[in-house]
C-alpha cells in the first residue's frame, strides 16, 4: 500500500519499520540505531530492526541508569543512552597524517561511511547541528566531520515519554525533533496496535519513504501523535532555569559555588564523554623505533584533564573547581560567545552518568539563587 510520498503525515506499522531498515541498507547506508547491550541502550550497527530494544525502557536519575522491561513492545521508548551520535560523526580516535623520512606529510586515508541514524531524539538532532556549527562553521573546517555529516541520513524520533533526567523542553530542543531530519517518526503503541506516524524533511526522506509501504495518516492519528509529543513537554522531570545564563556565568566567576561543586565533582570527565556536543580533541604523535616513520592521531580530550590547560611548565586550571567552572561556563555561557548559541541540548546524559549525580540544572539554579536573581530554588523530581 505505497502512497505518494507527498501525503503527510504518513503512517506505517511495525513491519514498515523493518522495511525502512531494509531500504536503508539496500541503499548503501550503514544503519546505526539503539540496541540493548551490557544493561544499557547502546548505539550500534543494525542489520535489521529486530535488533532495536523492543519492550525496553529506562529509569534514569542523577548518577542512576537502569533498563526496565516495559509492558508493551515499543522500540523507541527509552531516553538517551551513554553513547551519543557524535562518536560516528566525530570519532573518538582517528588518524590525521603520517610522515616518512622524506619530510612529506601524507593525509590519512579516511573512508567516510554513509550513515543512516535511526532514532535520533530532538536533543541529539540539535546536538548534531551544534557540532556542525563548531566543527564546520568557522574559518577552518573539520573536513572529515563535514564529509560524514554530508552523507548522513537522519531518522528522528519525537519523544512521547520524557526520561527522568531530560530537560530538552527548557532548552528548546525537544521533545519534538527540530528541523534537520530526513524522516521523523512518532511511535504510537496501544491496545489497538503498533504504528509510526512519519513526516519527511528532505528529498532524500521522500525518496526513502516512498519505498516503505505506508498510507496517509488520518486527522485523528496525526492530531493524537502531536498531542502526545506536546504533552511530553509538560512532563519533564527537570528544567534549566530560564535566566540569562551567559550573564549569570560571567557574574559568577568568583562565586563560592564552584568550591561547593568541587567538593563533590571527581573530575572523572564522564560528563564530557557522554555529552553529545563536547567536541574537544587532542593530538598524539607516535613514531616507530627508527624514528623514520611518524603518525599523528586525533583523539577526544576533556577539559577535566589535569593537563588540558598546560602551558609554561604547569596547567592554568589546576583546581577541580576551576575545571568544573570551565566545563559549565563553556557549555552554558561562553559557547554563546564562541559559536552563537548554547552548547547544551538538555539530553540529561551528564546527570545520569555523573558518578556523584551532579545535576547541571540544579547547579544552574543554585548559581542563580546565589546571584540573587530568583528566590525560587526550583523543584526537581528525582
Amino acid at each position: 500500500m505505497s502512497g505518494p510520498a507527498s501525503v503527510q503525515p504518513a503512517v506505517f506499522g511495525r513491519d514498515g519499520l523493518d522495511r525502512l531498515v531494509e531500504v536503508l541498507l539496500a541503499d548503501g547506508y550503514q544503519v546505526i540505531g539503539p540496541t540493548v547491550r551490557d544493561n544499557a541502550i547502546v548505539l550500534a550497527e543494525l542489520e535489521s530492526a529486530d535488533q532495536l530494544p523492543a519492550g525496553w525502557g529506562v529509569d534514569t536519575g542523577p548518577g542512576h541508569y537502569r533498563l526496565r522491561p516495559r509492558e508493551d513492545a515499543a522500540v523507541f521508548a527509552h531516553s538517551a543512552g551513554p553513547g551519543s551520535w557524535k562518536q560516528y560523526l566525530h570519532p573518538p580516535r582517528r588518524p590525521l597524517w603520517s610522515a616518512g623520512p622524506d619530510g612529506v606529510f601524507q593525509p590519512a586515508a579516511t573512508a567516510s561511511p554513509r550513515y543512516a541514524f535511526l532514532g535520533v531524539r530532538g536533543c541529539d538532532l540539535a546536538a548534531t547541528g551544534i557540532l556542525g556549527r563548531v566543527l564546520g562553521g568557522g574559518q577552518h573546517r573539520d573536513g572529515a566531520f563535514a564529509a560524514r555529516r554530508q552523507g548522513l541520513f537522519i531518522v528522528a524520533v519525537n519523544c512521547t515519554e520524557p526520561g527522568g533526567v531530560c530537560f530538552c523542553a527548557s532548552m528548546g530542543t525537544g521533545p519534538a525533533a527540530g528541523p534537520g531530519y530526513d524522516l521523523a517518526l512518532t511511535e504510537q503503541i496501544d491496545g489497538s496496535g503498533h504504528w509510526f506516524v512519519a513526516e519527511t524533511g528532505s528529498p532524500a526522506g521522500d525518496r526513502i519513504l516512498a519505498e516503505v509501504p505506508h498510507r496517509g495518516a488520518s486527522p485523528d492519528e496525526a492530531r493524537s501523535a502531536q498531542a502526545e509529543v506536546a504533552a511530553a513537554a509538560q512532563h519533564m522531570g527537570r528544567d534549566m532555569p530560564r535566566v540569562d545564563l551567559p550573564a549569570l556565568i560571567r557574574e559568577s566567576r568568583d562565586s563560592p559555588h564552584w568550591a561547593d561543586v568541587a567538593s563533590r565533582c571527581l573530575a572523572c570527565a564522564n560528563c564530557t564523554m557522554v555529552c553529545p556536543t563536547c567536541f574537544c580533541t587532542t593530538t598524539e604523535d607516535v613514531s616507530d623505533l627508527t624514528g623514520d616513520h611518524a603518525e599523528r592521531w586525533q583523539r577526544w580530550a576533556s577539559c577535566f584533564e589535569t593537563d588540558f590547560s598546560y602551558v609554561h611548565g604547569g596547567s592554568v586550571r589546576q583546581s577541580g573547581a576551576s575545571r568544573y567552572r570551565q566545563w559549565f561556563s563553556h557549555k552554558l555561557g561562553t559557547w554563546h560567545d564562541q559559536f552563537g548559541g548554547s552548547g547544551c541540548v538538555g539530553c540529561g546524559r551528564c546527570i545520569a552518568w555523573c558518578p556523584v549525580g551532579i545535576d547541571i540544572t540544579a547547579e544552574a539554579r543554585r548559581l542563580t539563587d546565589l546571584a540573587g536573581e530568583t528566590g525560587n530554588a526550583g523543584e526537581n523530581r528525582e
Binding site: 573536513g143 566567576r253 588540558f308 602551558v311
Partner: protein, 284 residues
C-alpha cells in the same frame, strides 16, 4: 557499501606543509632563531602577531609566534624558539636541513597600520620580544607613518636578551628610543636594573596619542598595562599577546580557551579592554 574518500583538501587545516630549517642562529642559552624554507609551495605571508603550528614528526607540534620581517619577500619563515618542552627543545636544537611541518599563519595581528599617526610604545618581557620584533621592523620600515617609537625590553640577565646585535643597532639609531632593563643584578652591566614597569613609569607619554604593544609573561603584561593605565592610557590603546595550550591552532580542539575567547582565533593579539578583566580571574 559505498563510502567516500575524505578529499585531501578537506584535511588541509590539520595537514602540515613541509619546510626545512634553512638557518639556525643561537640567541641565548635556551633560545635560537630558525629560518625555515618551504620544501614546495610556501604558506601565505604572515602578519606581525600571528603564529604557526610547527610540527616535529613523532614528537609533536607547538604554536610559535612568527618573529621575522613582515616585509621579507623570500618566502622564508622566521621563528625564535625557546626550549621549554619536548617539541620546542627539538626545534631549538634542530640542525640545518631538519624537516619541519608548518601550518598557518594563524591568529590575529598587532595591526600596526591602525596606529599610524600615533606614538608607538613596544614593551617586551623576556622572549616576548620575539613576537614584537615584526612590529619594530615594520614600524622602522614605515617610519614616517608614526610619531615617537619607543621600545622597552626587560630580561632576566644581560645574556638573556634576544636579538642582541639588533638591539644594539636599534639603540644606535636616532629614530627609535630603546630602553633595556634586567631583573637580576649582573656584573659588568652598566644599564638599568629593575622590572620592566619601572622604565615605563618614568616615560613621558602622551597617553591619548600612544598605542602600546605588550608581550611577555602574563603577570608582566598585567603589571605593565596597569602602569600604563596609571599614566592615563586607555585600555583600548593597549594590545597584548596571549598564550594558551594549542593542539590545533584553528579553533577546533577547544584547548586554548580563555573565557569567551579562543586564543588561536580571537587572539593571540587582543585589546586590553577585552583581555584585562579575563587575566585577573584566577585559573580562567
Amino acid at each position: 557499501m559505498t563510502s567516500t574518500e575524505t578529499p585531501r583538501t578537506a584535511m588541509e587545516p590539520m595537514l602540515p606543509v613541509p619546510y626545512r630549517v634553512a638557518s639556525r642562529a643561537t640567541e641565548t642559552r635556551d633560545s635560537a632563531t630558525l629560518r625555515l624554507a618551504p620544501a614546495g609551495q610556501p604558506l601565505p605571508p604572515f602578519q606581525p602577531g600571528q603564529f604557526t603550528m610547527l610540527a616535529v614528526p613523532g614528537i609533536g607540534e607547538v604554536a610559535i609566534s612568527v618573529s621575522g620581517d613582515p616585509a621579507a619577500q623570500d618566502g622564508l619563515l622566521t621563528h625564535t624558539v625557546r626550549a621549554v618542552g619536548a617539541v620546542s627543545a627539538a626545534l631549538h636544537g634542530a640542525p640545518v636541513g631538519t624537516p619541519v611541518g608548518v601550518r598557518g599563519p594563524f591568529g590575529t595581528t598587532w595591526d600596526l597600520p591602525s596606529a599610524a599617526g600615533r606614538d608607538l610604545l613596544i614593551v617586551a618581557g623576556g622572549v616576548g620580544l620575539a613576537p614584537l620584533r615584526p612590529v619594530v621592523l615594520g614600524a622602522l620600515a614605515g617610519r614616517r607613518h608614526y610619531r615617537d617609537i619607543r621600545l622597552v625590553a626587560g630580561a632576566r640577565t644581560p645574556a638573556d636578551f634576544l636579538f642582541a646585535s639588533e638591539l644594539t643597532g636599534w639603540s644606535a639609531r636616532g629614530d627609535i628610543d630603546v630602553e633595556l632593563t634586567i631583573d637580576q643584578p649582573a656584573a659588568g652591566w652598566g644599564g638599568q636594573v629593575g622590572f620592566v614597569t619601572e622604565p615605563l613609569a618614568r616615560l613621558r607619554l602622551d597617553p591619548a596619542r600612544t598605542t602600546a604593544f605588550l608581550c611577555g609573561p602574563e603577570p608582566m603584561m598585567r603589571f605593565s598595562a596597569q602602569a600604563l593605565r596609571r599614566k592615563g592610557m586607555s585600555a583600548d590603546d593597549i594590545r597584548v599577546s596571549l598564550e594558551r595550550n594549542m593542539k590545533c591552532g584553528i579553533g577546533l580542539c577547544g584547548h586554548c580557551q580563555l573565557g569567551p575567547l579562543l586564543v588561536c582565533r580571537d587572539g593571540p593579539v587582543v585589546s586590553y579592554t577585552l583581555a584585562g578583566p579575563l587575566l585577573t580571574i584566577r585559573e580562567l
